[in-house]
Amino acid sequence: MSLLKICDVSLNYHSIKGETQALNKVNFEVNEGEFISILGPSGCGKSTLLNIMSGLLEPSNGYVLYKGEDIRNNLDKIGYMFQKDHLFEWNTVWENVILGLKIKKQLNNESKERVTELLDTYGLLRFKEHYPSELSGGMRQRVALIRTLALKPEILFLDEPFSALDYQSRLLVCDDVYNIIKTEKKTAIMVTHDIAEAISISQKVIVLTERPSNVKVEIPIDFKNDDLTPFQKRKNPLFSGYFNRLWKELEKSNE
């Protein structure tokens, strides 16, 4: 059975000037442990879709099921990561990563230990007492990911998580985040407009059409070797084939 099922999700935006249809009957499924990218032209409602899938926004029509149950009854199972890291500048790295736990009143010795372990595994433990302004962009993004992971989510939603970084750190952080999500065995859904990023990180790419968007095509990505990092995948001979195919799909959806 699929972990997440998106059924006939539609969304209309209302403003004084009128009604805009952003999403039109989107359907797809996500299996446990998968890394899925949602790719689409800018302004096609990718982030809106992500907000609906994570239960932050209510769709006009349709529903999102988590293990066959409404997602809104399972909000504890999701973690969300934004384009910007949104670390609180007035808090230390430690205070930042335990923020979610503190709010959910889950801060205890066991959860503290788990967070410490996460920090240690991903090379941030010695920066525990530092302030975010003292960290590099990539480290900040990792802190943000650990803040999300601290709550033990089953599914991670990533909203263009690398686009605020410069090109070099983007590649590095992409590898980092991919490894972290893979080792922690999480299901992840990422929204992006970067074709190369989508191919290199995910097992399936879902291409959306122009507004009102629905699913145009689902393309499984398989490099025949699960141990490749996103960076290595970019250099794999299969990469350019996928790239050309997705490029064409996006081009068609722009017509």
């Binding site: 932050l56 384009q83 923020l99 959910k104 590095l172």
Partner: protein, 284 residues
Amino acid sequence: MSKKHEIQFLKKQKTINETSIITKEHEVYLKKVKSTKRRIVITRILILVIFIALWQIAANLKWIDPFLTSSPTRVVKSFVSLYEDGSLFKHIGITCYETILGFSLGTILGALIAVILWSCPLVSKILDPYIVVLNALPKVALAPIIIFWIGNGMPAIIVIALLISVVTTVISVLTGFNEIDKEKIMLMNTFRASKMQILRYLIFPYSIPIFISALKINVGLSWVGVIMGEFLVAKDGLGFLIVYGGQVAQLDMVMMSIVILSIIAFIMYEIVAFTEKKLVNDKN
């Protein structure tokens, strides 16, 4: 690869630390910074000394009429005589008390109203034109009414001082609240934070610099309110001394009160600025 990245970052930090081993060039630079700083302080003091000396000389040589302009020695004499009759510190104390109470109550009340308006956006929208009118209205115009309502005494003065600062506080704090990145609030929503938790963990810490800058403005505004109130109530305080001195043609007393007022206002501002430095800059 991330390890490499980190090492690079650490190296960068190390080079910053290494520059703290002072080179000749850096030493010259530091000296220059220091001497510029010293020159500024000396010039500041000099301006004050020359001004006072000129004032005194002009009064002594009858370039100006000391009856109208007073003179430093007359100011000191007036100071000493008030000090000897024991009322000087009473007046200073009362004025300070009213001012401190005025601006702190104004800031707290203003911040509270801002929190309420922030949590009810609809109310905030409805009240918007009224707040604009209240902000534009010169609050001292309300002073006679307030004295009638509350009575001719210290509470009326404090209320006038409070009224002057409360509306600007509401506006500046509310603007600060609304400037917070919407995604940060969404982040809190992904944690299912309640409105109180959003206030406590996000809005308040974020707004400390805004509170302090409101406080800074309110100190100045409160002085206006208190002195104005003392003019009208006319019982005690530096404002009373100024009005009384004017009425009995004792301009020495007026000048002295103004001098004391400027010194205290300066000190109070510095205290707030110091707190700001402690609270805001230490964190960054």
